[in-house]
């Protein structure tokens, strides 16, 4: 090997060893730094925990570390994990040592990262005294600040903030609006009155709010949701119909039944499900008609609702003789998935003809509706299924 090449190779090896060594040293330094951080944090956890358990709420002790970011992180973790009077006291301490006021001031910082950090911290602290500042943050230019402020307001749970939150909805992009709606859900029943009022506004997120009202499930929203069924906005009608499944009473049933005639299949499908949740007998003839709907979803939801309503299962059995094959199929599918067909298999071997014959009749109709494989899987012999497929009711086998 010639001299220059040798020198080059030695130099390269030297550079490599130097780089590897530096990397190793850096890695060790970082690991030590992480270790030191963990140890310090654990010391803070133990210290704060001890103060909480001992009921030692002297702010002087806390103030000593008040500017330490790690100490603050630990305080926020405790605030996240505990509830009740101890949390109230710890929150009072964070206020007393100036942590809350600092974060409140940071909400107006020109640095967006500072505002995000402040909003996140205030969201954990959820101090009722910061209500006005959090409402102010709902109009921040950074979505994360707005969302954290909304979450904080929900944790505080003061109904006065609901109106501001709803007013901020229309300034959101779709993703932030969804997260604000999640926060609204966090308010629970105290949000219902204002949220119901929003449904009659020109607000662009009315469908989202209707959905949230459904999740809250408070019947105080019923009237507004019934009115929303008349909206020309198809999305709102869909969400309102679905929401009435949880936030409705028997009063909403006639309105939902009318929606089974809506032009949009999604509205009809949601209405079919919602009336099923009301368990109202008046829905049975309407749902029977809906078994012949053009949409598979409407037929399926109508059949699923019939299973829930008293006397609905009888209507489903009768629907197995429906002239419309789609209605027969919807009824058969739900009779299978609801477990009724499985129960009928058990009844086939009953000694009591009053139990056995209706079971045979049901099984035969389901076999003829093309569900023979289900019964074979349930242990009915294939030749028997075949026999049922071809048998008239008067020629049913006496016993399996």
């Amino acid at each position: 090997m010639s001299g220059p090449i040798r020198i080059l190779l030695i130099s390269l090896a030297g550079i490599f060893i130097l780089a590897a060594g530096s990397l190793f040293v850096l890695k060790v330094a970082r690991r030590r730094q992480r270790g030191r951080r963990v140890r310090r944090k654990n010391r803070f956890i133990d210290m704060v925990g001890e103060l909480v358990v001992q009921g030692e709420w002297n702010a002087r002790v806390f103030r000593r570390y008040a500017t330490d970011a790690l100490f603050r992180e630990v305080l926020l973790e405790y605030l996240r994990m505990i509830a009740g009077s101890d949390r109230d006291r710890l929150m009072a301490v964070t206020r007393e040592i100036g942590m809350v006021s600092e974060y409140v001031a940071d909400l107006r910082s020109g640095d967006k990262n500072e505002r995000v950090t402040a909003a996140e911290a205030l969201s954990e602290i959820a101090d009722p005294e910061t209500l006005t500042d959090l409402v102010f943050a709902l109009s921040d230019s950074v979505p994360e600040v707005r969302v954290q402020a909304a979450a904080a307001l929900a944790r505080i749970g003061d109904s006065r903030a609901v109106k501001s939150l709803l007013a901020a909805m229309d300034q959101q992009d779709d993703m932030s609006a969804q997260r604000l709606a999640d926060a609204l859900y966090g308010f629970g029943s105290v949000a219902v009155q204002e949220a119901a009022r929003y449904l009659s506004s020109p607000g662009k997120y009315r469908p989202l709010i209707a959905r949230t009202l459904g999740l809250i499930g408070d019947i105080k929203a019923e009237e507004a949701l019934i009115q929303a069924l008349d909206s020309s906005d198809q999305s709102l009608r869909i969400r309102a119909a679905a929401a009435l499944g949880r936030a409705g009473t028997p009063r909403s049933v006639p309105y939902l039944l009318e929606m089974l005639g809506d032009d949009q299949w999604e509205v009809r499908a949601q209405a079919a499900t919602a009336v099923g949740k009301r368990l109202d007998q008046r829905a049975v003839p309407w749902l029977k008609r809906a078994l012949s709907d053009d949409s598979w979803w409407v037929r399926h939801n109508a059949a699923a609702s019939l299973v829930e309503i008293p006397s609905g299962p009888d209507a489903l059995r009768l629907a197995l003789d429906h002239p419309d094959p789609y209605a027969r199929d919807a009824a058969a599918a739900v009779l299978l998935s609801s477990g009724m067909a499985g129960e009928a298999v058990g009844d086939l071997t009953s000694d009591d003809p009053l139990v056995r014959n209706p079971a045979m009749d049901l099984v035969m109709k389901l076999v003829r509706a093309g569900k023979g494989a289900f019964f074979i899987n349930e242990g009915v012999p294939p030749e028997m299924v075949n026999q049922l497929h071809h048998a008239g009711q008067s020629h049913l086998p006496a016993n399996f």
Partner: protein, 124 residues
């Protein structure tokens, strides 16, 4: 009479510390661990008067630990302590064999009261 023995299975240090110190201050003998597999082993090898069991942990989920203890015939009362607060999750835990379910965030005083109720008749 010896002090009642409580096992705390919790991977979040803040929660573990609070529970441990609160129960120790009330006169209970506490063993703590932060991993589902460790908890399984400890529960199979030692007797406890009560277990406070987190659901989400490294190693094994709380409910899996509980199921395996039950399968092995370990019958100590278990209170689930979890941030998973859905109705179905609570019902599932009770079905598997938990005697109570405490949702996070929790009141320390309430946890202590529930522990005392479960350990009624056992000192302190």
């Amino acid at each position: 009479m010896s002090r009642p023995r409580v096992l705390i299975v919790e991977d979040e240090r803040v929660v573990s510390f609070l529970l441990t110190r609160t129960l120790e201050a009330s006169g209970y003998s506490v063993t703590a661990c932060a991993d589902g597999l460790d908890a399984l082993e400890i529960g199979l090898g030692q007797d406890f008067d009560l277990v406070l069991l987190d659901q989400r942990m490294p190693g094994l989920l709380g409910l899996e630990v509980l199921q395996r203890w039950k399968a092995a015939g370990r019958e100590f009362p278990v209170i689930m302590v979890s941030g998973i607060t859905g109705e179905a999750d609570v019902i599932r835990a009770l079905e598997v064999g938990a005697v109570d379910y405490i949702r996070k965030p929790f009141s320390i005083q309430e946890v202590l009261a529930r522990v005392k109720v479960r350990l009624r008749g056992v000192a302190p």
